[in-house]
């Protein structure tokens, strides 16, 4: 599959403390790619660097074979951050319609996305009354508004109950089957094992492993991803 985003020797430090120590991997078109790592491994920093929200000190980020431009992010990358919360005094549908106007998409697109995420019934409620699961769905709608080629999500199922986690994972799977490339970070290894075509483990600022999950399990002779992951990061 052709490469969509590729990172080559990406380095980033905060006040001379290195957080990313030379990250290299590529995201291919049609992938559903999971990024795993312990707390503080640098997952959010890596995502922010890819999206241009943080500058990087060294290395290259390429989009479709050429240097990534801000315009590529504005048009082709949908993003859902961790602990996202949209303006609380607006209604869900209203928020999406305002955003759609700015992104030059018709208001019908908002209805399509609300239906896709199962939010049609809650669109006229104030966001402050939404549950965590509804906020995440609204976040995914926001990320999809510009019809991006790639969807980047930072801990999309964080703080959700098991049913909510399953809904989000099923939704990501559905979007991937509709042709979207999905890249997400997660602590919930069962989610990654269930849906990801490929994954990478970020450990102390370095990619310690990347590939197909079954290969990692075989490498460590583990029965599930959790066991394989812990062995890979040296916790067991």
């Amino acid at each position: 599959m052709p490469e969509l985003i590729s990172l080559n020797n990406l380095k980033k430090s905060f006040a001379s403390v290195p957080v990313l120590k030379g990250i290299s991997f590529s995201l291919c078109r049609g992938d559903i790619f999971g990024l795993l790592g312990l707390n503080g491994a640098g997952k959010t920093t890596l995502i922010k660097c890819v999206l241009g929200l943080l500058g990087h000190d060294q290395g290259r980020i390429r989009f479709k074979g050429r240097a990534l431009q801000a315009e590529d992010i504005y048009r082709q990358c949908g993003f859902l951050p961790e602990n996202f919360f949209p303006p609380r005094n607006l209604k869900g549908r209203e928020f999406l319609k305002i955003m759609a106007v700015g992104l030059c998409f018709s208001r019908n697109r908002v209805e399509e996305l609300l239906a896709l995420t199962g939010m049609s019934g809650a669109g006229d409620k104030y966001i402050r009354n939404y549950s965590r699961g509804m906020i995440q769905r609204l976040g995914i709608c926001t990320a999809l508004l510009k019809n991006p080629e790639v969807l980047i999500l930072d801990e999309p199922a964080l703080g959700l109950d098991p049913a909510g986690q399953k809904d989000i994972i099923d939704l990501l799977s559905l979007l991937n089957s509709q042709g979207k490339t999905v890249f997400f970070s997660s602590h919930i290894l069962s989610q990654i094992e269930k849906v990801c075509s490929r994954a990478a483990i970020l450990d102390q600022g370095l990619i310690s492993w990347q590939g197909q999950i079954k290969d990692l399990k075989e490498k460590h002779g583990a029965r599930d991803l959790e066991q394989a992951f812990l062995k890979q990061v040296g916790q067991r």
Binding site: K48, L53, E82, P86, G102, L103
Partner: protein, 247 residues
């Protein structure tokens, strides 16, 4: 234009529906009614005092509304990470420009409400003067500068409290600078005079944004142009900071 309207609309809708805005609106209505009783205490200058007290109260409440709304909005957007969503779909220039225009419009609507509340009170007490209307125009220009300063400090300062204190300190300094300059020019040393003249180049010139008796429409135009230029510089400064800052 469509893109910038996103942030104007989001800012306006979010602010107008906020409990703090509703509280300030209630307070403004209450204060305007109270000003009638305060004016009654000044025998012989009833009309003048009523106008001045109303204006001073409206200015103070608008200042409070804008400073708190802008700083808390930036702080909330940073904490809820919605800013990251905005900045991956729109340029920082649009984000800052839209928010600035949104708050300038909020100031306009708030002043419009206050003016509507003041007019019947002034007319009923035979205290209305045309200068009262022009004062509202200049007050709007001054508040627009406060919006610009609040935007700048909200972007520069990581702490909400620091941003709030910085805006209020700068506003106070700008307010007292013209009088301080007059005093220092007459009685101060050369160094003091140079220092204040330097400050007058940096701080907003509030003396240009006041309705003096006999001032015509050209004063209003000069004030508007000065305000637009100053806001442009503040927007540019905020843009440079937001591009350098890492979130």
């Amino acid at each position: 234009m469509k893109k910038i309207s996103v942030f104007i609309l989001l800012t306006l809708k979010q602010s107008v529906r906020d409990r703090f805005f509703l509280a300030v609106i209630f307070l403004a209505g209450f204060y305007i009614l109270l000003s009638v009783f305060l004016a009654l205490l000044s025998v012989g200058h009833h009309a003048y005092v009523l106008r001045r007290i109303s204006l001073a109260g409206v200015e103070l409440l608008s200042l409070l509304l804008l400073c708190v709304s802008i700083t808390t909005s930036f702080s909330r957007e940073r904490d809820t990470r919605i800013r990251e969503v905005y900045l991956t779909s729109f340029s920082p220039a649009l984000y800052l420009g839209g928010k600035l225009l949104g708050y300038i419009l909020l100031a306009f609507f708030f002043l419009g409400f206050c003016l509507l509340a003041c007019l019947p009170v002034l007319l009923f007490n035979q205290a209305f003067a045309f200068s009262f209307l022009t004062s509202f125009y200049y007050l709007w220009l001054k508040l627009s500068l406060v919006c610009g300063l609040a935007l700048f400090f909200s972007v520069v300062c990581s702490s909400l409290f620091t941003a709030l204190i910085s805006i209020l300190a700068l506003y106070l300094a700008a307010e007292i600078l013209p009088q301080a300059l007059v005093i220092v020019t007459r009685f101060g040393s050369g160094f003091q005079k140079d220092l204040l003249e330097l400050l007058s180049l940096i701080l907003p010139r509030t003396d240009l944004l006041q309705s003096a008796s006999g001032s015509g429409p050209e004063q209003a135009v000069i004030g508007f142009i000065y305000c637009a230029l100053y806001l442009f510089i503040l927007w540019l400064g905020s843009l440079l900071v937001i591009q350098k800052k890492e979130y």
